[in-house]
Assembly symmetry: C2
Homo-oligomer: 235 residues x 2
DNA sequence: TCAGCTTACAGTCGTGTTGACCAGAAGGCG
DNA sequence: CGCCTTCTGGTCAACACGACTGTAAGCTGA
């Protein structure tokens, strides 16, 4: 056992943050911010945003706070991912990390601050990160891709109103495959959670598409909702 | 803020344990073991099995250990559920609990030890528990019922071999609704994860049913498996 | 101005899944 | 040996969903 017996287990909160950025092949790709470690252990390596849990702060609030500290943004979706507590995941002391994952609006993230100690990277081709953070991001990616298929979190990447093509681009970027526009329209309308705004998005060289708004109150049965998962957490 | 500023946050591991027992209406019901608190706070109240996390023990091992301590059993399924860390969930200090949920084999659980400080209760009609443990059990129940529908964890309640009727009873007990025997057979066989043992269960006053065995290696694609979730954890 | 281009949007068709239902098989029991 | 039970295999219709076709409606450029 590598730790001092009298050293207590330390509790940290980290957050995997996702946003979308335009990609080369016309399809958007997932990006995530990393922070450079400014102290030992693993000084200089890139790691997930996070920090020690203050005694009087809620877990979710701590996650949102570190998210704001590194990106200047408020999450549009924030959910607990998993708690990582392997005995040897940190070389110095026993550290248990409660990890959250978050989605932030893409156009806001484009204006996000990125200093010398904050760096955005494509989530699918990460550099070698500190501790077990590569594995954590991979798990968060798996959860995002799984959850996009059976919930309505995709709109968290977009603004208040969006076209069906924009929403489809989000799905295609997350799922990494093309979707038939007509079928996509049918299933999204059938979900009952989209409301037409009555407005259209003009300016493009084709027929102007309708603008929709996400309506969380619509046709949602009680038993498919998850307990205590807030979709719009207080930042 | 009710806590002393210098008191550190304490880290606990608790486990929600489920098994099946024969019920009145012919349908089995879910039972869970509780332990009586032997010290303050909430002394005398019933609570989930658990304890403080030792510095050198893995989270999952700690969960399996407390499970063994209260039931004398090894889990056939063990998975992390959620981490509960509300600032005021414990009146004395800040306590963050990493909660696991487990399934134990029903016939083994029937022989499980139950002393004056261990009590098995139906999981759907709990008494008032200590702290936020009622909410935790409710969430574990929701997760069990959700996960039974898209995974193959139901066999964890049964022994090595079982009939399709026994397996169907498990599903009916967990989902709390009747299932058509013929359709149930079709979907289970189509899943490809059941193997005939070649033996039959004799002795009943009807046609003897085939005995099956669960085969986890069969026809499982790589991307529907969850990362680092062990189905047969080391006890 | 008008052909032509692009995307929005609507509908059809075939397939696979799933629930409801039916019928024969194969044991034990009176 | 009839009769009960459950086991087991099958059909049928409703539905969801992917592939595909066709029309609508804007903008652009010659």
């Amino acid at each position: 056992m590598p730790h001092q017996l009298d050293a207590p287990t330390r509790l940290a909160v980290s957050t995997v943050i996702f946003t979308l950025r335009p990609g080369a092949a016309g399809r958007a790709v997932l990006w995530t911010p990393l922070v450079r470690r400014t102290r030992e252990p693993q000084l200089g390596l890139w790691a997930l945003p996070g920090g020690w849990l203050p005694v009087n702060e809620e877990l979710e609030v701590a996650a949102a706070r570190t998210l704001r500290a590194t990106t200047g943004l408020a999450p549009k979706y924030l959910e607990q991912l998993y708690t990582f507590g392997e005995v040897n995941r940190s070389p110095d002391a026993r550290v248990v990390s409660v990890v959250y994952w978050a989605l932030v609006q893409s156009d806001e993230a484009a204006r996000a601050a990125a200093g010398p100690n904050v760096r955005w990277v494509p989530a699918d081709t990460l550099p070698g990160l500190a501790f077990d953070h590569n594995r954590i991001v991979e798990y968060a990616l798996w959860r995002l891709r799984t959850k996009v298929e059976y919930t309505e979190i995709a709109h968290a990447f977009l603004g208040g109103t969006f076209t069906l093509a924009e929403l489809r681009e989000v799905y295609e970027a997350v799922l990494q495959r093309s979707l038939d526009p007509a079928n996509f329209r049918r299933t999204m309308i059938a979900s009952g959670r989209l409301r037409e705004t009555g407005e259209f998005q003009a300016g493009a060289a084709h027929r102007p598409p309708k603008l929709y708004r996400y309506d969380p109150s619509a046709t949602r049965t009680a038993d498919d909702r998850e307990p205590f998962q807030s979709e719009r957490p207080a930042s």
